[in-house]
């Protein structure tokens, strides 16, 4: 059947018409093969503009339209919907980008006009062989998986559960709470972190829609948006939480003491332990890596003293299988450790701490019950030096990025220190103070004005111990003076990194990471909570360093994005997917190997595309030696015709 194509070029005011002679283009295109209707209009995207297109389709019985206007990222949907209104398939409408890729980047009107003609002709060639397609519909499993039980994961899980969807919340450590539960106070309000965190943790544990899996890790994932299958490894805790009465007898008899992760090594815990008093679930965990041994039982003291018989040495790892429709990844962060940062005596001198350790020292539930004391001799430090940007903003040696929260938490640390030790002096070495955020700048000013914190702009060159003091050599670049401080304690604002193991998880989930290992969002501005894999969303510091309000906001955003999927009866997938011409296919299987989505498989010696899994990237098409594979509406034939049009037009 002969194609009846309509061509419309938009002036976009003078945005296009200023550099492209739209009248000439429209006249030139009128005689192009297949063009039945060609016109220019001042604003095609306006209501009258769309109506002109709809009327032309109806009156002249057009079966395809090409609109030369702005980038398809902007108005492709507008015009495709209008095409559908006019009674043709929406995939019979194509956009020629003559603004961003032509009128806006050129000055010479004659040449820009010629280019606009070439672009238009090449897109007409694409449209000429477009198939009419209908979106592929897929069912939805209406429950979600949240990976990571820090503040972000908790917020996402609660938002999803409160919207009425079942949530599986997976956390790899024995309790949820993440780093936020370790903090003492939070900036800029000085709210007690545990006091605002624990109600949320309790809500998670009591919520009928939330299935909490702690001490568990995602092992494997398959499926696609709306229909993921997840394998979760539930590690044995060797304690039955239903029987455990939290009497704490087991820890009193356990002979093993190892550094306590919750206090970042400032205290020690037993091999059987509860991470912290408010842990959720409220139960003990037997750390098999430090227990003297279960096979054969080397010690057995904890089971002996356990009256309710909650300890079960025969507990085995379990693999749970869950089906979910969408996934939120909130795996959080870790601080730079001593392996990465040997400067500044971290890991060598006991009184050189990182930010999280200092949080524990300030915390009422911490190792010193909220008294700020030196770990080495338990004396009150009278001079404390805080160093910012340790590992951050250092592209040569460490991380190029800004860890974002350190300026604020250092101001908070200095302030808290002064609140605990009134006659003490706090010094902060900084490069710049970045205090963007509601009430943040005022907070830093308060540290300086009310608590007399001395801010020194410059870097520290050397730290060494001498006579029980930590000597800090630095420079104040504002006065140009060398600074030497005989400090009692040094606190390093370590760079924030993606949490350990996040990279392996990202590979399992097939979501991208940036150069620093943070999870990549689909678009830095417009899709900041979506991963590039549809159905998977990002929340919290796993995506980039961020503070609590930002993490919470992103977590709620991610939850809404997940609800967008879960609330659908059916999902619709772009139908521009690969198709295999089985007459040409020899069953060599090269397309099977290259498909990033495992969407192609061999059946009876021929390649077969799972249209639901296929994202239409076309890698199979470029790989196929027999030209059997092609992506609908970007077939090799269409591209060849586009090439010809773009060179000869």
């Amino acid at each position: 059947m002969k194609k009846r194509i309509g061509y419309f070029i938009c002036h976009c005011g003078i945005n296009i018409a200023g550099t492209v002679d739209v009248k000439r283009v429209s006249e030139d295109l009128a005689s192009y093969p297949g063009i039945i209707h060609s016109e220019d209009y001042v604003y095609m995207c306006s209501d009258p503009g769309q109506s002109r297109m709809i009327e032309a389709i109806k009156e002249k019985k057009l079966d395809k339209v090409v609109i030369a206007c702005c980038s398809p990222t902007l108005h492709e949907t507008t015009f495709r919907n209008a095409a559908r209104t006019a009674g043709i398939n929406s995939f019979q409408c194509e956009i020629a980008n003559v603004r961003e890729q032509c009128s806006w980047v050129h000055k010479d009107k004659v040449k820009a006009t010629e280019k606009a003609i070439k672009i238009s002709k090449s897109v007409i060639e694409r449209a000429r062989f477009n198939e009419s397609l209908e979106p592929i519909s897929i069912p939805v499993t209406r429950r979600a998986l949240v990976i990571g039980g820090g503040i972000s994961g908790i917020q996402s899980a609660l938002d999803l559960a409160n919207s009425g969807y079942e949530v599986v919340l997976v956390e790899r450590s024995p309790s949820i709470g993440g780093h936020m539960i370790q903090l003492s106070e939070t900036f800029p309000t000085l709210d007690c972190s545990q006091c605002i965190m624990t109600p949320k943790m309790v809500e998670v544990s009591k919520h009928p829609k939330i299935k909490l899996l702690t001490y568990s890790e995602v092992q494997d994932i398959s499926g696609y948006v709306g229909n993921f299958k997840v394998k979760i490894l539930k590690k044995p805790t060797f304690v039955d939480p239903d029987k455990c009465t939290l009497c704490d007898e087991c820890t009193t008899v356990c002979p093993v003491a190892v550094p306590n992760e919750f206090d970042l090594g400032l205290t020690r815990r037993r091999a059987i332990y509860i991470p912290f008093p408010q842990a959720i679930p409220a139960t003990y965990t037997l750390d098999i890596n430090h227990c003297p041994g279960l096979v054969p039982i080397a010690c057995g003291k904890c089971a002996d003293v356990c009256e309710p018989k909650a300890i079960d040495y025969d507990m085995k790892p379990e693999i749970l299988e869950e089906e979910v429709g969408s996934i939120i990844v909130s795996t959080g962060f870790d601080l730079y450790g001593k392996d990465e940062m040997a400067e500044y005596g971290y890991g060598t001198y006991e009184d050189v701490l990182d930010g999280l350790q200092f949080e524990r020292l300030c915390s009422a539930s911490g190792p010193t019950m909220g008294k700020i004391l030196r770990p080495s001799d338990h004396k009150e430090p009278k001079e404390v030096v805080f160093i910012q940007c340790v590992g951050s903003r250092d592209p040569e040696q460490h991380c190029a990025y800004c860890s974002k929260i350190c300026c604020m938490y250092t101001a908070k640390h200095a302030m808290l220190y002064k609140h605990h030790v009134h006659d003490g002096q706090a010094y902060v070495f900084y490069i710049d103070i970045r205090s963007g955020g509601k009430g943040y700048e005022e907070f830093v000013q308060r540290a300086v004005e009310e608590d007399g914190v001395v801010y020194l702009r410059g870097k520290v060159s050397k730290i060494f111990e001498e006579n029980g003091k930590i000597r800090v050599w630095g420079v104040d670049t504002l006065s140009g003076k060398d600074i030497e401080i005989k400090a009692d304690m040094v606190v390093l604002a370590m760079a924030i990194r993606p949490s350990k193991g996040a990279d392996e998880l990202a590979k399992k989930l097939k979501i991208a990471m940036d150069k620093d290992g943070f999870l990549s969002e689909a678009h830095p501005k417009l899709r900041p909570v979506e991963s590039v894999t549809s159905g998977m969303f990002l929340a919290g510091a796993a995506q980039a360093p961020k503070d609590i309000p930002e993490a919470v906001a992103q977590a709620s955003g991610a939850a809404v994005k997940a609800v967008n999927i879960l609330s659908q009866e059916k999902l619709y997938h772009a139908p521009t997917v690969a198709a295999v011409n089985s007459t040409l296919c020899t069953g060599c299987g090269m397309c099977v190997d290259v498909c990033p989505y495992e969407a192609v498989s061999l059946a009876e010696g021929k390649a077969n595309v799972n249209e639901v899994l296929c994202e239409g990237c076309g890698t199979c098409m470029a790989t196929c030696l027999r030209a059997a594979a092609s992506v609908k509406n970007v077939t090799p034939q269409q591209v060849h015709n586009m090439i010809i049009a773009s060179l000869e037009g």
């Binding site: 980038s71 890729q101 806006w104 980047v105 076309g618 890698t619 470029a622 090439i643």
Partner: protein, 142 residues
């Protein structure tokens, strides 16, 4: 007598939809300027650019061909640009073998945020092609 017209190389640019085409959009939004010698063809992924497309472009009279995708590691389809990179290396060698100046074919990585880089790549490419003159080796319609 009419002055001989200045040689204007014709370039076909295969841009992936997610990064390079978006990057060229950003060049437009930022009102950066580059020579109008390039006609962009947006494809889903640089990994979908078959060597046939490149040869077809040269055959139909292109003086230069550009394939531009997401940065390695940033592919919207996770690994399409790695396939593109491998394939393009072979294409380059083949072009060299059949006597086409290697400067006539470029592969670049332009992210959605790199409008300025896109501009630079096109400007440099045009400058590089100008001294080479028209490509006649593969051209079929002389």
């Amino acid at each position: 007598m009419k002055m001989e017209e200045k040689f204007e190389p014709k370039i076909v640019a295969f841009l992936c939809k997610w990064c390079s085409s978006a990057g060229s959009d950003l060049a437009g939004v930022s009102r950066l300027k580059y020579p109008p010698n390039v006609v962009p063809i947006t494809v889903m992924c640089s990994g979908s650019v078959s060597p046939n497309y490149i040869f077809s472009a040269f055959k139909k009279g292109a003086d230069g061909v550009l394939v531009s995708g997401c940065h390695p590691g940033d592919c919207h389809y996770m690994k399409g640009n790695y396939y593109a990179r491998r394939r393009i290396t072979l294409v380059k060698e083949l072009l060299d073998f059949i006597g086409i100046e290697p400067q006539r074919f470029h592969m670049s990585w332009v992210s959605a945020a790199e409008g300025a880089k896109f501009t630079e790549i096109i400007s440099d490419f045009v400058k590089e092609l100008e001294p080479l003159g028209p490509q006649n080796k593969l051209r079929s319609n002389l």
